[in-house]
Symmetry: C2
Subunit: 430 residues, 2 copies
């Protein structure tokens, strides 16, 4: 039924396994220059971590630690045992680099294969991978998983829409891996080639690598006539294969035998109550070459409470709701631009752009939101505008739990550079 | 000593193995729609091919057969057994597609690993692959070979020169796979980054995917402070891993346990005498999913006679000398533009461009070569030019065995479109 029996392991057994693996990974980590130093700074002995209960003893690891240990300061085995390296792009500054042993590559492929199998992909499927290959983990990571499962894999890579569609049609592709925004674009090319959905044999889309809403998923499902499943991963934790939706399409099972997951308040660094939104923190439990302890992903999500009807015991996380590095703290309240956006974009009168302005008046912080109003609604009648303003204020207050000052402005009047809107303007100084 | 003991197999044993494998692959091929039809057209039964002596009974396969059998007409096993597909680029018309089973991928990786090992690459090496990944075979084909050997592989992919150099330096890369023309370009970027050869740890370059001269190899060796080894492959025969230079740097050993090689006269289709130039014809001996029989590669080369001091028994082919599709037949003589080019480019007075013009006068074909002369040599004195003209005519006659009519023209006077010179102008009509 499951690709790996571990997927259905009783919760207590899973946690016991995590405890054993955590102890092992902490003792291994101590062999890396970075963790040797960090443990020493914290007066921590690796053998003080005997199980899950000792997790809070471990310091967090951040992207800055990965950068500072560039190029090889996080390896806990000799470089000769490494067989693969992936790196974040970036030509300036130190890139984030992750090394893998042969076993790590194997384990990663197994985790990705588990994701494919979970949503019904089988060896007879024809799979087209539209992620870029190379140092980016989405290409090779997904590729090895599909190969592990035994699909016919078409390593199409990114771009070249006409060829993508030709491959989809000619090889009767049944499963695709595609970035959501590219999926929306690619669908617009179908018409120009005279290709219809009926010419294709698609049934499943694996979508990941960028956050997207439920609406986007629905749209992709309609455009391609498929079931679309959300994928979560980050290169620091291999890449794809960290968490993946099951057929219930209600949250992504995080593979807890391989990744120990916590969700913390990004300010207090304490765990949030079960079900509440916070920052996802991950510890690798099986990686040999370069384990990472309590890595602050900066991705905001929540554990979905309760058991999943699919029978898998691994907890589910919600789709990524934003980044903790975007977080605004005002009057002691944490606010994310994504929350403001979600409220505003549901209001028909609101135009394309908005701007969050943070000001200080005396000792008091002010939270102001400038909102573009579509020209057809930007009328002379001040009473109409006042009503709209009150409505927006109320909706934002319900979401954010503080009352913003809302200003309505004309369409296309807010700053916008390089086509990319500025979302937050912090005038509070330091 | 060898990665695979088969590399040193006694010649007679190797040929016996080829005979057994040929018989097997022919019987398997008969299961594919294409070969079932071809065998029937030729009145051939698969069991009529019992060994190497029966090779001439088999018809040749051409690129046109691959195109005509698109997308799956050359498979001799069910599509479900295929795990990989590679395709030539081309968005219009039918692409050339090759399918692989899991065993085929494994065998391919073994062959590439053999190439790496032959030139001294070992598991402790750090290998940067600068070939494009995806449907192009140079990326994944080389990648799997390096992984099979156990190197630390950096899947850099093509382009992004600054990042390539940063990776070379920061990860102390010892081995690179690079296209010769890109190697020359990349070296020009070193200076602008303030990187010297002394900052690098390179020792070996694997160069392939495009024909190049001995001079280019020497230049790459100087620029990078490495030994550079020539690689030969084509996507129809997997990709890289068909033939590769040994440390002698005198011809590429063709892995004859996996590929049965012939060199034929492209006109008579008969074998050329040992050591003479002709078209390379290859038969896959180990491929399960999509065997190809007597494939006309259109690549021109020769077997290098004699045994190689390295002890490998697999015959060597010379670097690729041109393409048989470029071949000109005039007065019953086969001429390749590359031959004309080699002669002309060794003459100091000759400029950048030349043009071969084929004309018919009455019933007689005329072979004319227009040659640009560098402006400093294009003097008023007709006697000087006449002497140059006679010298060029004599040198071309010595190479081509027919006497061309040579016309000297001014520098930059010959047609040149899109920066790419036109080399042959055939005015003979049909
Ligand atoms: Zn589930
Ligand atoms: Zn040799």
């Amino acid at each position: 039924m499951f690709f790996d029996p571990l997927e259905g392991l009783a919760r207590q057994d899973l946690e016991n396994l995590q405890g054993v693996r955590l102890r092992h990974v902490v003792s291994q980590s101590a062999n890396s220059p970075l963790y040797a130093r960090i443990f020493e700074e914290h007066g921590l002995q690796a053998d003080q971590v005997q199980g899950l209960d000792d997790l809070p003893r471990l310091p967090f690891t951040g992207k800055e630690d990965l950068r500072a240990s560039y190029p090889g300061g996080m390896l806990c085995r000799p470089m000769e045992e490494m067989v693969r390296l992936h790196a974040s792009s970036g030509t300036t500054g130190a890139a984030t680099v992750v090394f893998h042993t042969a076993n790590d590559i194997q384990t990663w492929a197994d985790l990705v294969a588990r994701c494919f199998h979970m949503v019904g992909v089988r060896p007879h499927d024809v799979f087209q991978n539209m992620s870029g290959y190379g140092l980016f983990t989405g290409g090779l990571g997904i590729h090895y998983g599909a190969e592990r499962l035994g699909c016919l894999t078409i390593p199409a890579g990114a771009g070249n829409s006409k060829r993508q569609i030709k491959l989809l049609r000619d090889f009767r592709v049944t499963v695709i891996h595609i970035i959501p925004s590219y999926a929306l674009h690619l669908a617009t090319v179908f018409d120009s080639l005279g290709v219809n959905l009926e010419d294709l044999h698609l049934k499943t889309a694996l979508i990941g690598a960028e956050p997207h809403s439920e609406q986007i998923r629905k749209r992709i499902e309609e455009l391609y006539g498929v079931k679309a499943y959300n994928s979560y991963g980050l290169s620091e934790m291999n890449g794809p294969g960290v968490a993946f939706e099951c057929p219930e399409q209600n949250g992504m099972h995080i593979w807890e035998d391989a990744f120990l997951a916590e969700i913390i308040d990004p300010v207090t660094l304490e765990p949030v109550p079960e079900g509440e939104v916070g920052e996802l923190v991950l510890t690798t439990l099986t990686r040999e070459g370069m384990p990472i302890l309590r890595y602050r992903t900066r991705d905001l999500t929540r554990f979905i409470p309760g058991e999943c009807p699919c029978g898998r015991t691994h907890r589910r996380i919600d789709r990524i709701l934003g980044r903790s590095d975007d977080m605004i703290i005002i009057k002691g309240v944490n606010i994310f631009p994504m929350q403001v956006e979600r409220v505003l974009m549901a209001i028909p009168e609101v135009g394309q752009n908005y701007l969050i302005v943070l000001e200080r008046q005396g000792y008091l912080d002010q939270f102001k939101v400038q909102v573009e109003v579509k020209s057809e609604f930007f009328v002379e009648d001040m009473r109409v505008l006042k009503k709209l303003q009150d409505r927006i204020t109320g909706m934002l207050r319900d979401e954010l739990l503080i009352t913003p000052k809302v200003e309505l402005v004309e369409a296309r009047s807010l700053p916008c550079s390089d086509g990319k809107a500025q979302r937050v303007c912090d005038l509070r100084g330091q």
